[in-house]
Symmetry: C2
Subunit: 235 residues, 2 copies
């Protein structure tokens, strides 16, 4: 007697589209957009591949939904930070940029590799979506650099767009590559690689863009400390 393998119909606890996105994010993080298969995503989510097509139009639509879930918070934080009335020195504000990126992207290699991959080998449909998401968060950083130049804290000959590109891209490269490069290629431990690398990077970067590099950096808050605890070190 052939047992019907699995009962069809809705499960006891229904599948939220967000759960599918969680699974997709995990698989994308492991394999990248192209290599990630819908079957692998379905297995990760514990459902049939066809269910994905009930909630999303296609694999690309799933990627777009992932972007739509991840980017607006980053954009909101960055735009708040780049408000011109912020009285903090430029160094601190740029460090806040780093912290915002870090909090939002450090645990999501999938999104990172997706973004980079689509910029390099951009499929047509996704290019517009990407531009719409990335442009505002680059412009927010750029406006901080613009203001730093106007205030005389940064070199007058600094190219603000290039400065933005350098800061952000190196941050993401540190997340993506530094642990592996240090451990696999150099035999060093990888546990503190990201924090050490990011601090060294920001120090180098600041010297590179500051009008007077001999002025040392002010004390910077911890990378992953809570956003509401910028002043208190102990409760």
């Amino acid at each position: 007697m052939p047992t019907h393998p699995r009962p069809r119909g809705p499960k006891p606890n229904r599948m939220d589209p967000d759960q599918l996105l969680d699974a997709a994010q995990e698989v994308f993080a492991r394999d990248g957009l192209r290599a990630a298969s819908l079957r692998a995503i379905a297995k990760q989510a514990g459902c049939d591949p066809a269910l994905i097509y009930y909630h999303f139009d296609s694999k690309e639509a799933m990627f777009a939904a992932l972007l739509a879930r991840r980017f607006p918070p980053i954009q909101k934080e960055l735009e708040a930070l780049s408000a011109p009335e912020d009285p903090r020195p430029t160094a601190l504000r740029l460090w806040e940029v780093v912290r915002i990126y870090h909090r939002n992207l450090k645990d999501d290699p999938g999104i990172r590799s997706l973004i980079r991959g689509e910029i390099v080998h951009g499929a047509e449909g996704l290019a517009d979506i990407l531009q719409e998401r990335i442009r505002p968060i680059m412009m927010a950083v750029k406006s901080i650099l613009d203001r730093g130049i106007a205030l005389g804290e940064l070199r007058a000959d600094l190219h603000p767009l290039l400065g933005t590109f350098f800061l952000v891209r190196m941050h993401l490269e540190i997340l993506d590559l530094l642990p592996t490069v240090l451990s696999r290629l150099m035999g060093l431990p990888r546990d503190r690689a990201v924090e050490t690398g990011l601090q060294a990077w920001f120090d180098l970067y600041w010297r590179g863009i500051a009008k007077d590099p001999s002025i040392p950096l002010p004390p910077l808050p911890e990378l992953s400390a809570d956003v509401n605890a910028t002043k208190e070190t102990h409760p």
Copy 2:
């Protein structure tokens, strides 16, 4: 009468394995290692996919052969440059590093994306090959930084491995991403993006690592000038 589509047997001009590598390089450059298919490579080379298996053991072996063709010259140039008796100031020697990388990798996005991709999602077999190729060329750069510190030209607290990582990775990111980011995301022209970006980057980097950042950079030779014409500007 069914025409035998193509005559079998050897062609009038035989296929050099190097020609296959050329084709593979081109396709890898377009599509990346995973997405590049042997059928696409064969079409690019004008032969049958099976011929690839006559000259190479597998797709991975083809990739390894590509590395073996591209890296030894870079390694040789860098090791000659890092000889401790070189009397030039550290800034000039580091700029030579940039030029060596540039000459050898600027026209080969395939190799670049392959290396990076394999570091991020490293397949087991290729990881060792990569390490064997990359480690020496990173150590050569590191030894220049080490010497710069010892001579007092660079900051004493500079971490040489991180400094190497920053210099090289940002160079490759400028090649891979800057033109696209500037044009597609910002609407700027992309033709001089790489040269402008690289010079701005080296300027920033040098300020970041120099012991005395207020000393300006010496005049630097052109990026792509011939390697034998470092002194003579006119014959």
